[in-house]
Amino acid sequence: MRSTARRGLAIASTLTLLLTSAACGSDDGPGAGQPVPGVTDTEIVVGTHMPLTGPASAGYSKIAPATKAYFDYVNANGGVHGRKITYKIMDDGYNPATTQQVVRQLVLQDKVFAILNGLGTPTHTGVLDFLHTNRVPDLFVASGSRSWDQPDRYPGTFGFNPDYTVEGKILANHVKTELPGKKVCFLGQDDDFGRDALVGVEKVLGADGVAARQTYVTSNTNVAPQIGAFKSAGCEVVILATVPGFTALSIGTAARLGFSPQWLVSNVGADHPTLSRQLGDAAGLLEGLVGVNYLPMQGDTADPWIQLFTKVNAEHNGGAEFDGNTVYGMAVGYLFVQVLQAAGQDLTRESLVEAVAKGGYQGPGVAPLRFSGTDHSGYGGGRLSRVSGGKQSYFGPTYETDESDGPVNEYAAPAVTPPANGVPTA
């Protein structure tokens, strides 16, 4: 007993000594002229969190590699202001608890300059406060939630996707102008995605303009009860705010119930290659499907942006299967390089955020990017596409609108073409 006590005392005093030595000389505040985290004369380190594994990874797991491929392409062409971009991709499996860990690892340990295109509403919401406290720029969040557009609370956070309400309004506007008098029904995911989209639809059609509303949860893969209800209600148009898996499931289920309405699908769940891969032999059911998009259509080989991205995909992405997610990832990369160019040679976190807030970026997107000092939401509109002959292509004008009661207007600015070498200049 006495020896135990003595040993304990010895350990305690050693620890105290260690502690006092450690306590002195740490906790220095940031001095002037300190280097910018993640930026050297030759390199910019940027990080992201994405689901690469798990049930939510389908499709999404292709985005970050596409972005990285575009950065590799830019690096091979001399980089930005002489700096090469290093993109650190962390797998969070769409689990918010893991996102907490990996984002802290990126910021505190890997000292990334910024977080780019972090994916998912529940995952990214959890790290907003952390990124704000640590003054890390948080650019182009991959989700259509309205949470990213809070310039007063989160001045460093910016969105990318059009928000779900905007998409809902554009789809409903199509019903109002092209399919008047039809009976409209709505199926949405049971979260902010489905709810925000329904708000948009009802803003245009009125609350009584939607005959039947149904929701689904991703943990139950039987949508026959919902689709059955639409059929008995006699719906002629069904608006879907669904992820790709459930778009395909809904259309497949309707077919086996002998129900064939006009499908209108929000952007997230309307990528034709993804849907037809999942439906397999039944891909023909997708004929006539109307979707919203705001980036070049993946199958449009005449589009100069698609030509550029296809080339980058072949050279730097191992020729991975080219779909809407690939285009999305590369578009994010292009916009980030544009912003880096605009932020100039003396790159700091402040100059980067200022550069985004200055706005005025035009790139592959057909709809306008809304960035300004008071607006941190991403694309403010979209264009409708239709599947015809097994090919998804745009039709009609591009629309822009806001998430409140503003009208849905045509947006007529001409499209731009990519620079000759595919790398934006300042």
Binding site: D27, D91, G126, D129, N317, G318
Partner: protein, 367 residues
């Protein structure tokens, strides 16, 4: 009956060895141990960088849950696949209470203690309800019921999204580190201190409970229900008590996770978490608090470790896309299988076997 019992104990450890010549009361010994551990954490918090501080704090939060689970499963013999849901209960309660305080303009850091207490209380209530049902069930039927609980709790946040804000979850307003610590005091170090104090307190209470009359009743019920009943132990009541204690620890762990993340969402508390908690306590060494420590470390370190391992290889983009994420999971899976085959007593079982052999040899050498 033995076939349907949740856990048969490794026979060697059924009885705690009685060491001769010890005169220090158990409580004091545990307190001294906790003080030592606190000092170690204090030193580490200065030696490690911010990210490691945060990871260590996360270990502390998970440790509450794994320690509670190991008491329930390892000592009392009841299997639970629902501890992730109990953690969610604690986390959401803490978030709601902290938000209620913030709305009334109460932002003092000390109120966190009150919020944590409410979170533990709420989990105790839920744990008691589940525990009463669980006391009637054995083996896979208990697993089935707790599995359903694990699935229900996250789903309720969507059903009652007015209160819990659905998939997106709630943010948890937290006071900054006390001013007295200086303007540049790393917040992660403060988080580690908070979590470590709460966890050590929880561990001391659990350690005392394990050594008490209740702990002996737990083991008696686990080893042989009939014999325990003959010895005058109320089996069902003992099992409910074990469940409640275990739930309280899990609730505290969940609340601490919410404190660390400053947010809660159902995705973080899914069925996967419940299964991983169970894996952690078994791999760590079932029935021992030291095993729970290993398990908690494993929960935090393994994904990180395997990620660094995969980044060592340089791969073509196509191969990298396939391996990224999948390879760590494969390594984790193989590790689980190999550890369970090579060391069924878990890490702690392996360690005590090693130290046991060494001690014997040393004594042999000296004599």
């Amino acid at each position: 009956m033995s076939a349907t019992r949740a856990v048969a104990p490794p026979a060697r450890h059924a009885a705690e060895p009685v060491r001769p010549g010890r005169s220090v009361p158990t409580v004091l010994r545990h307190l001294a141990f906790a003080t030592g551990a606190a000092l170690v954490v204090l030193v580490l918090s200065y030696q490690l960088d911010s990210f490691r501080n945060f990871q260590l704090a996360t270990v502390a939060a998970y440790l509450c849950a794994t320690a509670g689970l190991t008491v329930l499963t390892g000592l009392c013999g009841q299997l639970s696949l629902g501890h992730g849901a109990l953690m969610a209960t604690g986390a959401y309660t803490l978030a709601l209470v902290q938000n209620a305080f913030a709305e009334r303009g109460l932002t003092a850091g000390g109120l966190l203690i009150l919020s944590l207490a409410v979170a533990v209380l709420a989990t105790v209530v839920v744990g008691a309800v589940v525990g009463v049902a669980a006391a009637r069930l054995r083996g896979p039927y208990l697993a089935g019921l707790t599995l359903a609980v694990a699935v229900v709790v996250p789903a309720l946040t969507v059903t009652f999204n007015g209160v819990f804000n659905g998939e997106q979850g709630l943010s948890v307003p937290m006071a900054p580190a006390p001013r007295a610590l200086g303007p540049y005091f790393p917040y992660e170090r403060w988080q580690l201190w908070t979590a470590a104090v709460a966890t050590l307190l929880c561990l001391v209470l659990l350690a005392n409970l394990v050594r008490s009359r209740y702990g002996r009743a737990f083991r008696a019920v686990r080893d042989d229900e009939v014999a325990a009943r003959l010895a005058g132990i109320h089996v069902a009541r003992t099992q409910v008590i074990a469940f409640v204690v275990s739930a309280a620890s899990a609730g505290l762990g969940g609340a601490l996770l919410a404190v660390l993340a400053q947010s809660v969402s159902p995705g973080a508390f899914g069925l996967t978490l419940s299964l991983f908690l169970l894996m952690a306590v078994v791999i760590g060494g079932l029935g021992r608090l030291a095993g729970a420590v290993w398990g908690a470390f494993l929960l935090v370190a393994l994904p990180d470790l395997t990620h660094s391992l995969t980044s060592l290889f340089t791969l073509s983009p196509a191969a990298a896309q396939r391996l990224e994420g999948n390879l760590p999971l494969a390594i984790f899976g193989v590790t689980l299988i190999v550890v369970m085959i090579a060391a069924p007593g878990g890490v702690q079982g392996l360690l005590s076997r090693l130290t046991g052999t060494l001690r014997v040899r040393w004594r042999h050498h000296r004599s």
